[in-house]
Amino acid sequence: MEKAAIRFENFGFQYKVQQEPTLYDINLTIHKGEKVLILGSSGSGKSTLANCINGLIPFSNEGTITGSVTVNGQETRKASIHELSKMVGTVLQDSDAQFVGLSVGEDIAFAMENEAVPRSEMVPVVYRHASVVGMQDFIGAIPFDLSGGQKQKVAIAGVLGSDVNILIFDEPLAALDPQMGQTAVELIDNLSQNGDHTIIIIEHRLEDVLHRHVDRVILMSEGRIVSDSTPDELLQSTLLHDYGIREPLYITAMKYAGCSIAGNLNLCDIHCIEFTQDNRKKLLKFFDGEPSVPEPCTDEEVIRLEGVDFAYDEGVNVLNDVSFSIHKGERIAIIGKNGAGKSTAAKLICGISRPQKGKISIGGKDAKNLSVKEIGEHVGYVMQNPNQMILKDTIKKEVEFALTVRGTDPDEIRERATAALNACSLYPMRNWPVDTVSYGQKKRITVASILVLHPDVLILDEPSAGQDYKSYMEIMDFIEVLNREYGITILFITHDMHLALENTDRAIVFSDSRVIADERVFAVLANDEVIRRANLKQTSLYTLALRLDLPPEQVIRRFIEHERSVKTCE
């Protein structure tokens, strides 16, 4: 019998400030050297479970524990957070906030500094740990110059203490772009194979984690463990659908094609999945047939960029000869890795920055002559983090804010605010204080506060970041309604390929400060060259197409088409 690294027995936990327990009846044993994924939507208790292992519970977050949890045979309650930190390394979700040092080396050394290890002993250890994650050439770098993925690597190196044999990753993919996310998954996998580390990954993005092998998946919902199985078993069941977790795209495709999922081997890896004869036939039949040719959009142009150059510092162009136009009522994804220039393009459209060369037209007028405020009446920008936008204390005041500062007539303010609140289904909550609502609702508030200005275009920066599948779907449905019923043009700035695939018609791809593609979404996603240059990740549909010897474009197009018809039927 393998030795248990972590054992929960009839475990329950209730935060001091909450009425109901967050965890109930947890019985779980994780063996040494295992690699376990804890899956669940927001609020399912998966992070709380991890915090019970690393000692943040009960030492930093107080509450009542029932039952027992042991780490390497030691009851956590009787240990201290410091003793536990020597056995359990935790990488938090926010790779930026957990970077406490002023340089890479310092951050990696932080735990050793706290142990009062002499500096001469620290230096070689820092180098060794940095090499494990491939950051040995960046030891002197400051956090400001690092990408999210690099910061995360540093965080991993920082918890690789000598006795640490359990590693917890709390939503390691949340802040990373797809390519970096894939690298992170590979790095975690290397750690689990080289050392004898027990690895616990907490995520809701199943498909991305399954990029590499996982021993076991534990599905949580509402504070309970609802399933504890191998990935294959989980994929064959209907649990994912029942508990609001996004299943891998290729599985969805197989279900659309009417395949029976149960009979296939190696279901969790699209590269070595073994299709049964029957399923292969069904898939081929499903993807066969010429999809209808979409009509090009010929409505009036709302935004047009012509040969735009932009640089923050002289000589280093962030945007290089960028041209594209956006028509009324379109849904567009602006994709590219972090730092490729997509956010800068959005800033230029909003007038926050002005181009050094080239021309931007908004609603047919030259943006040069428009102030930020005037552009704001045509183009609304919704930031990624709603907490950075909300200024007022109640929902109604927040939504009315943009009109109040313009000195609009009070009757008109009321009328327009009511309309915006209704469009976002917030009207019944209008007098609620802003800080009592959920993250997804806050996002709605920020959209409503822009909608009162009746913009033609809405720019949404990373709308899917930091949200589970369920609230992501809610927001997308809501945006879809805005687009369909109010004819608002939607621009998503994102690196989420699923989002682009399911919710947009056209994709503009940025790479190294240039636009490298501006085409229909399926064409972009089927173009391996573009995806590689933009440092994005292929969706599993592409791989599925290769496995079936079909042209990827046809497969992706057929899939989108089918999915949209399914959606309209609902």
Partner: protein, 281 residues
């Protein structure tokens, strides 16, 4: 340490013969580090305009005879009106004080460029500050750029919603009001970070032992020992200089001036030498 000594020396002396070599040190230090000169030049020219030009004009207008009290003679070179005139001594005084300011400024810059904040934090702990205080200093440095970035984001989003922050179109009062409003999201989003940072530190054993070590700390190298010896010598020299000029062989006035002969000094300013505060002009 050398930095503190330097500052003291520059504040104490009014003698340009001492000031000029003192000034050379920090400049040499700055140049040896090959920094990014652009912001530095901006800082220096900013200082030159405010302290140098505006300060001089104000001084000439308000008390044209200030040189008299410091140098001890009175040679008018340009009489504008009865109340407004320029004396050689005042010009000299202006030159010396300006040199002094440039020198102290350069020293500060050299110090800032030389030390990374974490070296500063570990240096503080070397001076027996409790390490929790030191880590706060270091964390503050760490988070300032992040907060600044977030502030810019918030300001941008407000502008897009129609808040006019352009100084030409809005009154100062209104702009202040909106800047105040911006603090709400800034503080709220920063609080979230604080919790994560605290957790991240707890999880890596922060605060377990009474003491901690510093990765950024330097072991004493030979250069450090030399620097220390040098500082000691330097401190002694300054002390001697103070004692010599003020007590053993007091120079009659606060300032040495090349074109004023000792016997020409008409006014002896004893009070200045007693009230040491005068040095901090």
């Amino acid at each position: 340490m050398l930095f503190v000594l330097f500052t003291v020396a520059i504040i104490v002396t009014f003698d340009i013969r001492v000031l000029l070599p003192l000034m050379a040190f920090p400049f040499a230090a700055i140049i040896s580090m090959k920094p990014n000169y652009k912001p530095l030049i901006f800082l220096f020219s900013f200082m030159f305009v405010t302290v140098g030009i505006i300060g001089t004009i104000m001084l000439l207008v308000v008390s044209p005879d200030v040189g008299m009290t410091h140098v001890g003679s009175h040679t008018v070179i340009w009489q504008v009106t009865d109340r407004l005139y320029v004396t050689k001594e005042t010009l000299w005084y202006v030159l010396v004080t300006f040199t002094k300011r440039v020198a102290s400024f350069a020293t500060v810059i050299a110090f800032v460029l030389m030390t990374t904040p974490s070296e500063f934090a570990s240096g503080l702990s070397f001076l027996h500050m409790p390490y929790k205080v030191c880590i706060i200093v270091s964390l503050a440095y760490r988070t300032i750029p992040d907060i600044a970035r977030r502030f810019i984001d918030i300001r941008n989003s407000m502008q897009m919603r129609g808040v006019e922050l352009n100084s030409k179109r809005t009154s100062l009062g209104k702009r202040l009001k909106y800047t105040g409003a911006m603090l709400v999201p800034l503080i709220i989003s920063s609080f979230g970070k604080v919790e994560t940072i605290a957790n991240a530190m707890d999880l890596r054993g922060f605060g377990r032992l009474k003491k901690r070590t510093w990765y950024a700390e330097h072991e004493l190298t030979r250069a450090d020992r030399i620097a220390r010896a040098f500082s000691a010598v330097f401190a002694a020299a300054i002390l001697f200089y103070i004692i010599y000029t003020k007590i053993i062989n007091p120079y009659p006035v606060t300032m040495w001036c090349p074109f004023v002969k000792l016997e020409n000094i008409t006014k002896i300013n004893v009070i200045d030498t007693i009230f040491f505060m005068k040095w901090f002009d």
